[in-house]
Amino acid sequence: MEGCDRFPFCRFPPMSEPSEGPNDGATTLVFHGPVTRSEVAKWHGLLVSAFAKGPVRPVRLDLTASGPWDLAGLQLLLAAMISARKVGREFILQGPPSVLRELAERAGASALLAPAWGETQA
């Protein structure tokens, strides 16, 4: 795995850049590692730039390697999902880890996110 491009010795994976999905033309973002209050600004910036890409295309978040999650991360997902809905953009959450599902359940957000859940992490 390549290191982060900001620091030569960083062992974290590089930040995801929006990329086009193979078949559906969706903009895919890969979330690696923590999505908590400390890091949420970074993921927010990434989502905003993905949403800024026109024309309106589906956005897929690959969450398979993400976690831990906290309420700030969950709130970001909800904001992204609602913003996507407003402009008729498809929003897919791929491979949400069980920790995120549990958090959503605890926060009473499961029903709201249910339409966006894709495949669950194995």
């Binding site: 209050r37 949420v40 600004a41 993921w43 927010h44 989502l47 905003v48 949403f51 906290d70 309420l71 700030a72 709130q75 970001l76 909800l78 904001a79 992204a80 609602i82 913003s83 407003k86 958090l103 605890r106 926060a107 009473g108 957000a109 029903a111 709201l112």
Partner: protein
């Protein structure tokens, strides 16, 4: 659950305060049965501690505290009478929590609570009573190990409440997790939660560190309504939560017991009209505060010298600016000095428990009265005052107050009185610890003093030295060494500790009527009034409080006794200690006279000779780096003088002690 170290420091600080509040509350519970406000306050201390411990992941402490809380809840509902054995057990539970929190503070793990204590709390939490000896339940019920976090329901019929929770947008950023409140609600019954996104902005306008989500939750529970309120006790602004009966008709519903927040996010800095703005406090690291006080003091010292510069320019703006700077410098110094002041209540609040425990152990009945707890003192003084005060209180209970039967026989109330009173006297704070016990047996003190060779055998009973014997190291009149006192270790330490705080301790005792110890202390340790003196060309600051008198004597009036310099001051032969000699400096030739600073050492006058007195100064004390000098005991700190030079602050008792030690080593001890 792992410990959340981010907030551990804050938790530990808060936990200690809560434990203090819990102890104070428990101490008064017996006397204030039926005082709903008091029991609520005590309950809240336990409840808040439980919640705070849970939030930082200390689940063991949270669970144990839940047991304490459950017992207090029984008191509150009237299901359990407040009895002495129950209070004793709860105080022991508090002690366990204190030790567990100390262990966490030291980076360890909280130890396991005593199994009998847990069993007793379980009995109490289910409404059982304890036998007076404790640990012998009068009813047999399976012990609750506090895993049942819902506690014992007081209301048997389940009720559904609708909880609307609108957290302040800053909540996440301030480190509070709103889900923690929902988790607590879940502990009370069956909870159905729905998140609301009404105030969630578009993604582009979102500040992801703020909390825009709100919640509606239906809680079906048999718990009392007040338990729901307690879940949200931490919230600064109660408008964030609205609780209504979801299963009542609108007419019956106590809906909107608290007004709904205005639309839009609620911010701390935007209080609604008519709401009382609560004063906010900021926790500041004590070391940083001391640095600030030191810097403000130095600034004030420097600005005090500014008037000398007024003539440097004829521009009126120049003199105006100098005056303003000088005024601001003083203001800043005074304000920062006030920041170090705390109420002695922080100290006094620990004494009722101590008195209760000791009196129980000794079988004495005691009524403790505390007065002037709002008197303010320097934080550092308060930190060091606990041990000496504890000693004096223990002495009062152990040596002073008689057992009830003896008091009755002497025509006294069987309940002994101990009074702790603080107040301002001039520019000092006076703390009095009084008892109405036996008083000091002067004959016994004298006899013991003679036996120990502390006073000559022919010393009359009214000799003033008799009164000071009790402050001698190893002196005790108690015939039997007890668990609490009588070991002869103490009053000398008390005196030394108070002296180190630049205070004094004295006492007055009337045989058969009681004893009062008086501790007098400066308001602050950050600054002193000092005398600037010169010796061997160096300038030193001497705290004025250590100087009884300044005397200038012609050299021909100086004499010597047994080969050591001395002077006769108003008929009293006073040994002289030379500052330059003690500090290993060269003596400066003087023009026919000596400046002597009269100080007290071991209750006798000793004169410290210096070259010149330069005047009075106000000095901000800075800690002394021990590597700076070889005569560490002679100095209490350093200070920066108005001209920017650094000066050492002398401790005259250290100077005399050093001189005495040097003479002893040289074979000629300075005799008292």
């Amino acid at each position: 659950m792992a410990i959340d170290t981010r907030f551990l420091g804050l938790f530990l600080e808060e936990a200690r305060e809560l434990l203090q509040a819990l102890e104070a509350g428990l101490m008064d519970l017996e006397a204030r049965q039926g005082d709903r406000e008091h029991i609520d306050r005590t309950f809240r201390a336990a409840h808040t501690l439980k919640g705070a411990a849970g939030m930082v992941g200390l689940s063991g402490i949270a669970k144990f505290t839940h047991g304490v809380e459950a017992v207090l809840d029984k008191f509150r509902s009237g299901a359990l009478p407040v009895t002495a054995p129950a209070i004793t057990r709860l105080l022991q539970a508090r002690d366990y929590l204190a030790s567990a929190i100390d262990a966490v503070a030291e980076g360890g793990q909280p130890g396991e609570p005593d199994i009998e204590l847990v069993a007793d709390l379980s009995v109490l939490a289910t409404g059982g009573d304890l036998a007076p000896g404790g640990t012998q339940p009068t009813i047999t019920t399976p012990p609750i190990l506090f895993d049942d976090e819902t506690g014992t329901p007081a209301v048997e019929v389940p009720v559904t409440y609708r909880v609307t929770f609108t957290p302040q947008v800053e909540m996440l950023r301030e480190g509070t997790n709103p889900l923690g409140f929902l988790d607590e609600l879940r502990e009370l019954g069956e909870l159905r939660v729905l998140v609301r996104t009404d105030r969630l902005p578009d993604l582009g306008e979102l500040d992801p560190t703020e909390c825009y989500l709100t919640w509606e939750a239906d809680l079906t529970t048999t718990a009392e309504r007040s338990r729901l309120d307690e879940v949200f006790l931490f919230l600064g602004d109660p408008r964030q939560v609205v609780v209504t009966r979801a299963d009542a008709s609108p007419a019956e519903s106590p809906a909107l017991e608290r007004p709904l927040p205005d639309s839009g996010p609620t911010r701390n800095n935007e209080p609604a009209k008519g709401t009382k703005t609560v004063g906010t406090r900021v926790r500041v690291d004590a070391e940083r505060l001391d640095q600030l006080v030191g810097m403000a003091g130095e600034l004030a010292v420097l600005t005090d010298s500014l008037p000398n510069l007024v003539g440097a320019s004829s521009d009126p703006a120049w003199s105006g600016a100098i005056e303003a700077l000088e005024r601001l410098g003083r203001l800043l110094r005074d304000t920062t000095l006030e920041l170090r002041m705390v109420a002695v209540e922080e100290l006094f609040v620990r004494f009722p428990r101590l008195v209760r425990d000791i009196s129980e152990r000794l079988g004495k009945k005691i009524d403790l009265k505390i007065e002037g707890a709002d008197t303010q003192l320097d934080r550092t003084i308060i930190e060091h005052l606990f041990d000496p005060m504890i000693h004096l209180i223990r002495n009062a209970i152990d040596h002073g107050l008689e057992p009830p039967e003896e008091r009755l026989a002497a025509g006294k109330d069987p309940v002994g009185q101990i009074r702790i009173a603080a107040g301002h006297e001039g520019d000092r704070v006076a703390i009095r610890i009084s008892d109405d016990g036996l008083g000091l047996d002067r004959a016994k003190v004298l006899k013991k003093g003679i036996r120990q060779g502390l006073v000559p055998a022919d010393t009359p009973i009214d000799d003033p030295r008799v009164a000071t014997l009790i402050f001698e190291a190893g002196f005790s009149t108690k015939e039997q060494v007890g668990e609490l006192s009588g070991r002869g270790v103490g009053l000398d330490v008390v005196r030394d500790t108070i002296r180190n705080l630049r205070g004094t301790v004295s006492y007055r005792s009337v045989e058969g009527q009681g004893t009062t110890f008086l501790i007098q202390l400066p308001l602050t340790l950050a600054m002193i009034d000092g005398l600037l003196v010169e010796a061997s060309g160096d300038r030193y600051v001497v705290p004025i409080g250590q100087v009884d008198e300044c005397v200038a004597l012609p050299s021909e009036e100086l004499s010597s006794t047994l080969g050591r310099p001395a002077a006769v001051v108003r008929g009293e032969l006073v040994p002289i200690v030379s500052l330059w000699a003690t500090l290993g400096r060269r003596e400066t030739p003087t023009a026919g006279r000596r400046e002597l600073l009269l100080t007290r050492y071991a209750e006798r006058h000793v004169a410290v000779a210096v070259d010149r007195l330069l005047g009075r100064v106000q000095a901000v004390i800075q800690p002394l780096d021990s590597s700076l000098c070889s005569h560490r005991a002679c100095f209490s700190g350093t200070t920066i003088l108005g001209d920017g030079s650094v000066s050492l602050i002398l401790d005259l008792s250290g100077v005399v002690a050093d001189a005495r030690a040097a003479e002893t080593n040289g074979g000629a001890a300075l005799r008292n």
